[in-house]
Amino acid sequence: MKLSLSAIAGLALFVLGALAPLIFGSQPYILYVLTLALCYAIPAIGMNLLYGYTGLVSLGHMGFAGVGAYTTAVLMKDFGVPFVPSLLAGAGAAGLIGLVVGIPCLRLRSHFFIVVTLAVGMIMYTLFNNLDALTGGAEGLPGIPRPEGFAIGAFEVEFRSLTGFYLLVFTVTALVFLLQYVLVRSDFGRSLSSVRQDESLAAARGVNVFAHKLFAFVLSAAIAGVGGAMKVLFLRAAAPLSFELQESINLIMMLILGGAGYLIGPIIGAITFVALPEFLRVASELRLIFFGFVLLLLARFAPRGICGLTEAAYTKLSNREKAVVAHT
């Protein structure tokens, strides 16, 4: 039952996402917001692997997104490297930094680890802000080119227009989602889950807890790097503010809101988090206060977010149905 529910939701999201340019074709603003939301959904998927499945909290994850973003941006802007290799290089660079950070820090107990990720995020932000030669400092790197289009026969694909770029981000998100799906549904996913639920038990059953945590961390850093790269390609500029502490915290909030530990949780969360304020037209402070209360309520009453609430409601409904059937 559970499986079919999430499968239906996932498919519905996919179809809606693919058709969005047709549905919202006349409203570029909605498409713009949706594109931005998907740029956040990608690192949120990475965070889901780390937080939702493995149970590790990272408060500096947008730092890794920044590494990916600047790497991709510099390669495309200054060296004219095509999009795909640049994006992969960005992911690789973010993953590499994740590895360097993860090896010493993942041995620490959970509280310490959280603080260190926070510190690492701050350090990276400082570096983005001050390594002027590489990152352009506080001004950032403007004028990042959009990926080149290509043609299949008479059919031309371009990424300069909003619709074109939206479809590109959508494709990348779908690929990252597919990666998440394959990993989570595999034995590897079950091992990650075991680490979250009971480290001692996982170890006693033969899981190398450290190696699994490290793999999840590096992978989620690399995915965050992809997200960061897509974001700066979309905005056509890389600036340190995109990767500051608040952004990392936003990432956690999106995931909690959508539902950590659910495949579609990060996507639901990112869309809700980015889109909702656009339609909730009040002062930004009031909006953030509202989100603060939402977080408190989620922490207290619905730690599994929107997906968890939906699932609970669905189970309740189907149980009632069953009871009725049994009665008659």
């Binding site: 909290v57 690492v120 701050m122 400082t126 956690i252 603060g292 977080l295 207290r300």
Partner: protein
């Protein structure tokens, strides 16, 4: 050079004292309840605003304003513990989510109430200067160091000489210990939160006049205090003191050789280095021979 070092040393000791106040509060909460309260920085900031409010609107006296600010924060601490953190005990991830929520509510709530601009308050101690050799510092520098030293002493006496303090220390080692001494552990938790928040309020009230009072004023001290309690040894009160002062002095002295922009990087670098070399901290206890 010697004067420059002395200047940065005294500046560092002053900032370090502020970090000590923050770190002590966080260490108490962590030790007794195993909660990492990331919202401690915004409570510090509220302390600054409270002092401003009491100073201009009610008392007109700086010392009285400080005390009222501490009392208000203690009250806030009580509410937070009862309503939020007590319900989330032993749930590390949700504690963090809740404290992130608190940061959003409080920080933006303050912007709503007082506006985004910095406030200023100048009690006499900020304008009066003390000459040390060729250097001059505000009296407030030494007020901060002195008041913090006093607060630390009082806290120490409380923890070691009173029944409630003993219960707090006992609870931090063994949750059931308070029950054995005949004290309701929930009272210990509430009290711990109240004391910790009052210390944050004191910090905000002390630092506010020297710099400015603004919504983000607590962010950096909170991060430095976090580093301090880890460097000192998670859960260790002496560690929080040594760590806090050490970080204040280190970051201040570092500006002599490294651009100011990298000051935070130095502190966090020291933190990461410490975790690599001695993850259990200066005063922490290492657990040996276990996998």
């Amino acid at each position: 050079m010697a004067t420059a070092i002395l200047e940065q040393f005294i500046n560092g000791a002053m900032m370090g004292s502020i970090y000590v106040l923050m770190a002590l509060g966080m260490v108490l909460i962590y030790g007794v309840m195993h909660v990492l309260n990331f919202a401690h920085g915004v409570l510090f900031m509220v302390g600054g605003y409270m002092a401003h409010l009491y100073f201009f609107n009610l008392t007109g006296s700086y010392p009285l304003a400080i005390l009222c600010s501490m009392a208000s924060l203690a009250l806030i601490g009580m509410v937070l513990e009862r309503l939020i953190f007590r319900q989330l005990r032993d749930n590390l991830r949700m504690q963090i989510v809740a404290s992130l929520g608190l940061i959003l509510i409080i920080q933006n709530g303050v912007v709503q109430l007082w506006g985004p601009h910095a406030l200023q308050m100048r009690p006499a101690s900020v304008d009066a200067l003390v000459r040390v050799g060729q250097l001059s510092f505000t009296v407030q520098h030494f007020v901060i160091i002195g008041v913090v030293a006093l607060a630390v002493t009082v806290l120490y006496l409380f923890l070691t000489r009173t029944r409630l303090g003993t219960a707090m220390r006992a609870t931090s080692q063994h949750p059931e210990a308070a029950v054995v001494v005949g004290i309701d552990p929930n009272r210990v938790y509430t009290l711990t939160f109240m004391i910790a928040c009052a210390l944050a309020g004191l910090g905000g009230a002390l630092l506010g006049p020297l710099f400015l009072i603004f919504p983000q004023m607590g962010d950096a001290p909170m991060l430095k205090a976090l580093s301090a309690i880890i460097i000192g040894g998670m859960g260790s009160v002496p560690g929080a003191i040594v760590g806090g002062l050490g970080i204040g002095i280190l970051e201040s002295l570092s500006t002599l050789v490294i651009p100011t922009d990298y000051r935070d990087t130095i502190v966090f670098g020291a933190l990461i280095l410490m975790l690599l070399v001695r993850p259990w901290g200066i005063f922490g206890v290492r657990v040996r021979g276990e996998h």
